[in-house]
Structure formats: structure tokens, C-alpha cells
């Protein structure tokens, strides 16, 4: 299939789960390929359709790093036109309001900046640990090591956590240019190197963290040295996350639960442990969320494969968008109840 580069790729925003993921993937792919796109029915499946402010923030950030021509870039707009120029590395500062996650902005611009010719320093302000978005620790500990193996040179530092709804967090990301990403295969976990349960609280009693760790310790049979309580006193608003980190020789996986008013600490910790136990029942290295994240870099690398525990609806949406922009074929096959093989092949 060939498409003339100048004719915008038509993306239907109502496909798949119809959320913001399809928009973010389109923005990234458009900057990576230099091909313009027009998206219609943005978030058609949602209660409040159209661009919300955190989507607009992602569009504006993408527009800034790629000098893109924009149309329809306003709140509640159901259509957007995006015509990217070359991506420039450099110093950037992006802030996002209340409900917005800085990590979703980073997810949109990270790969284009990796493949730019100049290094970048990106300061992100807003939420760093938001529900319905990958938290800082996930990108830092699970995602970055994998794309580092593919050649990406990224360092990121959490200067101040920002929880929903107060926000006010700050993350600094350094990107060194790399000419291209290498295909890799991620089929085995390798040997288990470490386990940890981390409970972070901000402006709420430290006991909440202790209760979460107590439950995590019992459920996952952890030792005292594998528990870590963090009191993030520097953060602006109240917040709480509970994470289980499993480090293997080939990758690290991380599972997160977000505390909120009215949810008991034990319930939050139990649900997070449920995720970790489910992962441990399988031998596939890539968890549900990481699978969503890895599709894009592997597609950009032009090949690769991985084994994962499940295919989410985000995953399916991403496959559809990626195949529109890039001449690749993504095949999936189920191996057993908790293992899928995903293969990315160039020149479909």
C-alpha cells in the first residue's frame, strides 16, 4: 500500500476505544514519518467528546517541537488537522492543568525527540502520578530500559511529584539523539533480580503507606528490606500511590494503584498485588500496559517481537493507527491463557 506523503492520512477518532490514545499515537507517528494527518470524531466514544485540555496540551506540545501547521486545535473540537515540519531538539517547557498528566505529553513527544538531530531538555510541569495514565515510575523503570536497549538515550528525573488533582509536579527529561532504533526481541524475562513494594504518600498520614506495605508484604511474601515508604512532603496536594516493582535480568515490570478519597489503603494495595500475581502466573515478560507502550518504538524500529500477558483495547487501537502510517505488519498469536506473541514485520 502506498500513500502520497502530502495527502493527509485520514484517522477516524471513533475507532477502537475512541479515547485520547489514538490522538497521541497519530501525533507521534505523524512527527516520526513527516506525514500530515486529519483526525475526525475525536473521542467520539466518550461522554464529553472532542478535545479536552490535556489533549490540547499534547497537540500544542507536538506542534511546538515539529513546527506543525494546526487546524481545529481548540477545546471541544472534534476534528484536527496536523501538518508536521522537521522535529527540532532543544529546550522545552510544557505545563498541563488539573486533570492532565505530563506523562501523556511525554509519551507523545519522546520518540520524535529521540530521533531528532539535536539533544533536548524537556521540563514538564503538572501531574506525574495520575490515574488513567502511566506514572513517572513506570516510564522511568519499565519503559526507558527497553527503549534504551533499542538505542534511545533518555534520562528522566522526578524533581517533585504531582498528584491528581493539585498537580504541581515537575519532571526533567534529557534526550540525546540517536540515528535510528534497533529492532529487538523480548521473549523471556530472564532471572528475577529483585522485588519491591513502594508506597508514596503526600500530605496524608504516613500510616496509609505503612498499611499498604503491610498488606503487600503479606500477599507477595516480601522481606522487610523489600518495602519502601516515601513521604513526598515537597508535593503540593494530597496523593498516594502504591507500586510493586519486579526486576528481571531482561526487563523491569511495575504495577501501580492510585489512592483516592474514600478508597481504603488495603483495598488499593490488594488490587495492585492482584495485578502483580496475575503477571507472575505467566512467563510472558511484557505486561498489559508495557505492551501498549512498546508497539510504537518497535514499529518505528521496523521490526521486532515480544511476548505479553494480554492485548488491551489500547493495543488494538494502536495497531490500527500504526499500520495506517507505517508500511509494517503487526501479527499477534495466542500461546496460552496468559501469553501472546506479537511480531512486527517491515514491508507489509
Amino acid at each position: 500500500m502506498t500513500t502520497l506523503p502530502d495527502i493527509p492520512i485520514e484517522v477516524d477518532g471513533s475507532h477502537g476505544e475512541g479515547g485520547g490514545q489514538i490522538l497521541r499515537s497519530s501525533l507521534a507517528l505523524s512527527m516520526l514519518t513527516g506525514r500530515p494527518f486529519a483526525i475526525r470524531n475525536i473521542r467520539a466514544g466518550r461522554q464529553k467528546p472532542g478535545l479536552l485540555r490535556q489533549h490540547l496540551a499534547a497537540v500544542k506540545a507536538a506542534g511546538e517541537i515539529s513546527h506543525a501547521g494546526l487546524s481545529g486545535a481548540e477545546l471541544c473540537s472534534a476534528e484536527l488537522g496536523f501538518q508536521p515540519g522537521p522535529v527540532d531538539g532543544g529546550s522545552y517547557h510544557f505545563a498541563v492543568g488539573t486533570a492532565g498528566s505530563t506523562m501523556l505529553i511525554l509519551q507523545t513527544i519522546l520518540l520524535p525527540l529521540c530521533l531528532a538531530r539535536e539533544p533536548s531538555e524537556v521540563v514538564l510541569e503538572g501531574g506525574t502520578h495520575n490515574p488513567f495514565a502511566p506514572p513517572f515510575d513506570f516510564l522511568h523503570r519499565a519503559f526507558l530500559p527497553v527503549i534504551a536497549r533499542m538505542g534511545a538515550k533518555v534520562r528522566m528525573k522526578l524533581e517533585k511529584p504531582g498528584f491528581y488533582p493539585a498537580g504541581g509536579g515537575r519532571v526533567v527529561v534529557h534526550v540525546e539523539p540517536c540515528p535510528a532504533l534497533r529492532p529487538i526481541d523480548l521473549l523471556e524475562r530472564g532471572e528475577l533480580k529483585s522485588r519491591a513494594a513502594v508506597a508514596m504518600v503526600s500530605n496524608i498520614p504516613l500510616q496509609v503507606a505503612e498499611r499498604e506495605l503491610k498488606l503487600g508484604r503479606r500477599r507477595l511474601d516480601l522481606g522487610e528490606q523489600e518495602l519502601q515508604a516515601i513521604n513526598a512532603t515537597e508535593a503540593d496536594g494530597p496523593g498516594n500511590v502504591f507500586m510493586v516493582v519486579l526486576e528481571f535480568s531482561n526487563l523491569t515490570e511495575l504495577f501501580t494503584g492510585f489512592g483516592e478519597l474514600g478508597t481504603k489503603a488495603e483495598r488499593l494495595a490488594r488490587k495492585t498485588c492482584d495485578q502483580a500475581e496475575r503477571y507472575l502466573k505467566s512467563d510472558a515478560p511484557v505486561g498489559d500496559y508495557l505492551a501498549d507502550q512498546l508497539l510504537l518504538p518497535m514499529a518505528v524500529a521496523g521490526g521486532g517481537s515480544f511476548r505479553c500477558t494480554a492485548l488491551s483495547s489500547h493495543f488494538q487501537t494502536n495497531v490500527g493507527v500504526i499500520e495506517q502510517f507505517l508500511p509494517i505488519k503487526i501479527t499477534t498469536g495466542r500461546e496460552d491463557r496468559l501469553a501472546w506473541l506479537v511480531t512486527i514485520n517491515a514491508g507489509a
Binding site: L75, G97, T98, A99
Partner: protein, 496 residues
């Protein structure tokens, strides 16, 4: 919703709080810019102070409605401040919409709620529809439920409806006799009454029936013994109409003294009854009716220019029935209903009879010189003839014959001579004589006595004569047509 700029108004005592709020706003909404204005209130519950200072703020603010949209946040501040912001927004001193914010309805959600309120009521379909229904009801009221079709008439009624509801100023209704002036005045009163805009009564008076002392006494009242025959005290119609409406029909017939008193009463809302030492107060609205050209009356000196100027504000010319032929059918139905209400008996035409009548009534042959009065009498006659049965073609035929002969000798818009002369007499008169006689009668009716009328009519020749008996000359002129003074005067009094 993204707010580009937040104008935070606070007093200097709360600067620290304002600083915290600004910082919080910028953290939660990095897209926004916060601009602070200090207004120190002596008393934030004092309406005058708060309104004045907020008005100053609005007037000094560089609003740029082409580039920016504004929202007035009503959720914070004293209730007085909220009321003032509302008023300033409603009066467009603050050219935007209102916004009301609040916490989320769901217990655990940090995301609040916000409601934007546009005060432009026409934007709201259901409200606009209700206003429309109410306006329609008002129009219906004025038209007594008659579905009139004449465009000019309908648009005039629409205007009258607005004026009637919004204004207490005098209304002047001009129109030929029988065109419905009295009816319209009654309905304007009923409309205002239904909207609670008048508390008092509707007092209708035909100025043509008021003469001399009696006129003054009737309008303004008198004390006991104020003049010969004033045996008891009388309140006066204008006092009776306090907080209500007085309908002065044939206002051109009012004497000059009464006109002066009326003007005073209108302007001062007070007047002095005859023989009284003190003025009484009365706040009434005037509706005036006339079939005369008041400009002409002013020119001739029979009507005070200042009074005319005072009542000539909302002036409406009611067209005659002949000019509203498309309204004859709905009015025919209305007259039938009215007859039914009065006599408790249905009035029906058979199909052919109705068509026959309407064809004639809307055709060029029908003069309708007595306007609605003619139509009403016509329906009464036919309904009476038909008795309990339907009105048939024979009855209509007879009625058309009667109408034809009634209008045969009349000139369009002229019933002055027809009132006084028989059709046969009129038929025997040259147009030359008709014109002279008509004007002479008109002048006669504007004067109290035969002598006064004579002086006016022979105003040049009387100066040259040695002995002047203008009254006699006039009397003889009238006798040539079989008319006399008292008859001319009497016919006038009953003519409307």
C-alpha cells in the same frame, strides 16, 4: 473550559489570600494569566458602594468583545456583590455571560462543576416560546379573539400591545366613527389590568356630550353649591379614574377651558374641582379618541396645541372596515358570537347565504361607511329575521338591499349629511351644496350657540354690514335644507 485571563478583585486586607489563590490557579491551570485588582470596600454589604465601585471597574476595563469573551464569576463575594455583578452583566456594562461554579456532585471527584448562564433570553427556545405565547395572548386580548388578517392592522395592534404594556403615556386613537375606538380602549384597559399595570377603573366619557359648567363638573368634580344647580358634591370622572384609565372619546369636542384643565391635570397629576380651594390628586392614563383631524382643529384654534402635543405621542389611525376587507369574515363570526352571547341563541348562515353575504361585504359595492357599527347592526337584523333558523339566502338578499340603499347616497367616509338628511333629500342635492352644507354643519357642531357659529362662518362679511345678525343668516341657510340648530346639535350627541 480554559480561562485565558482571570481578573481577581479583592480588598487589600486579603492580599495574602489573593496571592495564594493566584498561585493555586496558575498551578491547576498553567494556561491562565491572573490579574489582580484591589478594591477596598467600606461595607461590602452596601449596595450603593459595591455597585458604584464595580461599575467604575467595568467602565475602566478595556473590554474587547471582538477578540475576547467574558464570564462574570458569581460564586464568590457577598450576595450584594453577586447581585451587582448580575445587574452589570444584564445591563451589558460587563459584556459577557455569567458563570456559576461549584464542587462536584460526586463525592470523590476533584473536578468541579460550572454552569454558564447567558442572560440573553432570546437564546433560550422554551423561554422565547413562552414570551411569544404571552405576546400572542396580549394581541388576542386587543383583538378580542378576532383572527384579523389585515397586515397593517395586525402590525398596528402589535405596536399598541407593546405600548400598552410598557407605557403610561397618553394614547391617541384616530378613526372614523364605528371603527372600534371605544372597543380598543376597553381592551387596552383589560390587557393592562390582566398584567396588573392598572389598579383603578376605566372611565369612558364622550366629550361631545359634555357642555359648559356640566362639562367641567363632570370631568373635574365640584363642591356643593359651586354653581347653580350644584346641589351635591361630585367627585369628577378624572378622580374616579385615579390609578386607572380615562377614555376621552371625541376629544376634539372638549371646550377650550376644559382642555386647559385637562392638560394641567395630565402634567401635574392634580387639579382643582370647581368651587374647591384645594387641588385633588389623580394619577390616570389618558386614551383619547377622535374622528376629527386634530391638526386641523389646532389650526382653526378649536384645539389647544399644547394639549395636542401632550396626547399626540402614541397615535394610531384605526382603518375603517372598508379598508380591511380581509377582516370582514372574522369580524362577521365575531358579531355572530356576540349576538349568541347576548341572546343565548346560535346564529348560523347556510353555506350559500354566507357566501352571498361575504361576496357582497368584501366587494367594491359595500361602502361600510358606519364601519363595525354597520356590520353589527346588519348581523343583528339578519339574526332577528332568521329567528331560531339559519340565515338563508332570502334574508341575506333583503339585508343586502337595505345596506345598498343605506349607502347609496353617501360619499366615502362621509356620514355627516346622511345622519341629518333622508337618502331622497341627499339625492336631490348638488355636490356643490353638499360640500358647503357639510362644512357648515361641522363648524356648527364646534360652537356652543347659533350666534357663535354664525360669527365664525360669516367672519369677513359681518364686519362690512351695518347690522349684523349672523345667527339669523345661518338659521335661514340651514332651513333651506330643512335643518335647524337644535337638531344638528342633538344628532351629534347621539352620533357616537
Amino acid at each position: 473550559m480554559v480561562i485565558d485571563r482571570l481578573e481577581l478583585i479583592h480588598d487589600s486586607r486579603n492580599s495574602d489570600l489573593a496571592e495564594t489563590v493566584s498561585t493555586d490557579v496558575l498551578q491547576v491551570s498553567p494556561e491562565s494569566e491572573v490579574s489582580r485588582t484591589v478594591i477596598d470596600w467600606k461595607n461590602p454589604w452596601d449596595f450603593e458602594e459595591v455597585y458604584g465601585k464595580l461599575l467604575d471597574f467595568c467602565q475602566a476595563y478595556p473590554f474587547n468583545t471582538d477578540e475576547e469573551q467574558y464570564l462574570a464569576h458569581l460564586t464568590t463575594g457577598t450576595h450584594v456583590a453577586q447581585i451587582c455583578l448580575f445587574l452589570l452583566t444584564e445591563s451589558r456594562h460587563l459584556p459577557g455571560m455569567l458563570v456559576q461554579t461549584g464542587p462536584s456532585r460526586r463525592k470523590n471527584s476533584a473536578l468541579g462543576t460550572c454552569h454558564i448562564i447567558d442572560l440573553n433570553l432570546s437564546r433560550y427556545d422554551s423561554i422565547a416560546a413562552r414570551y411569544h405565547v404571552r405576546a400572542e395572548q396580549g394581541l388576542d386580548f386587543l383583538k378580542a379573539g378576532i383572527k384579523t388578517r389585515n397586515r397593517k392592522f395586525n402590525s398596528m395592534i402589535e405596536q399598541i400591545e407593546r405600548v400598552a404594556i410598557n407605557s403610561k403615556s397618553p394614547i391617541l386613537i384616530m378613526g372614523p366613527t364605528g371603527s372600534g375606538k371605544t372597543q380598543l380602549a376597553k381592551r387596552i384597559y383589560a390587557l393592562k389590568r390582566s398584567r396588573n399595570q392598572v389598579k383603578g377603573e376605566l372611565v369612558s366619557v364622550n366629550c361631545g356630550t359634555l357642555r359648559g359648567d356640566a362639562a367641567m363638573a363632570a370631568l373635574f368634580g365640584h363642591t356643593k353649591g359651586a354653581f347653580t344647580g350644584a346641589d351635591v358634591e361630585r367627585t369628577g370622572l378624572l378622580k374616579t379614574a385615579d390609578k386607572g384609565i380615562v377614555f376621552l372619546d371625541e376629544i376634539s369636542e372638549l371646550g377650550l377651558d376644559e382642555q386647559a384643565m385637562l392638560l394641567h391635570a395630565l402634567e401635574e397629576k392634580r387639579f382643582r374641582p370647581m368651587g374647591a380651594d384645594r387641588e385633588v390628586e389623580s394619577d390616570f392614563q389618558v386614551i383619547a379618541g377622535t374622528n376629527q383631524d386634530l391638526h386641523e382643529c389646532v389650526r382653526r384654534g378649536n384645539f389647544r396645541a399644547d394639549l395636542f402635543a401632550r396626547i399626540n405621542l402614541w397615535t394610531y389611525q384605526l382603518p375603517g372596515l372598508a379598508e380591511r376587507r380581509e377582516d370582514i369574515e372574522p369580524n362577521l363570526d365575531y358579531e355572530c358570537r356576540r349576538f349568541e352571547e347576548m341572546h343565548g341563541r346560535k346564529v348560523r348562515f347556510n353555506k350559500e347565504a354566507r357566501k352571498l353575504y361575504l361576496d357582497f361585504a368584501t366587494g367594491p359595492e359595500a361602502k361600510w361607511s358606519g364601519n363595525f357599527r354597520d356590520l353589527s347592526s346588519s348581523v343583528t337584523r339578519m339574526a332577528t329575521m332568521a329567528g331560531p333558523k339559519r340565515i338563508n339566502e332570502a334574508i341575506v338578499d333583503g339585508e343586502l338591499e337595505r345596506l345598498r340603499s343605506q349607502w347609496m347616497h353617501q360619499h366615502p367616509g362621509d356620514d355627516l349629511l346622511a345622519d341629518l338628511l333622508t337618502p331622497d333629500q341627499l339625492a336631490g342635492l348638488d355636490l356643490f351644496d353638499q360640500l358647503g352644507l357639510r362644512e357648515t354643519i361641522r363648524i356648527c357642531r364646534q360652537h356652543e350657540t347659533l350666534s357663535e357659529a354664525g360669527r365664525r362662518l360669516f367672519q369677513v362679511s359681518r364686519l362690512r354690514k351695518t347690522s349684523t345678525n349672523d345667527a339669523n343668516r345661518l338659521k335661514k341657510y340651514l332651513e333651506r335644507f330643512g335643518l335647524n340648530w337644535s337638531w344638528i346639535r342633538e344628532t351629534r350627541m347621539t352620533s357616537d
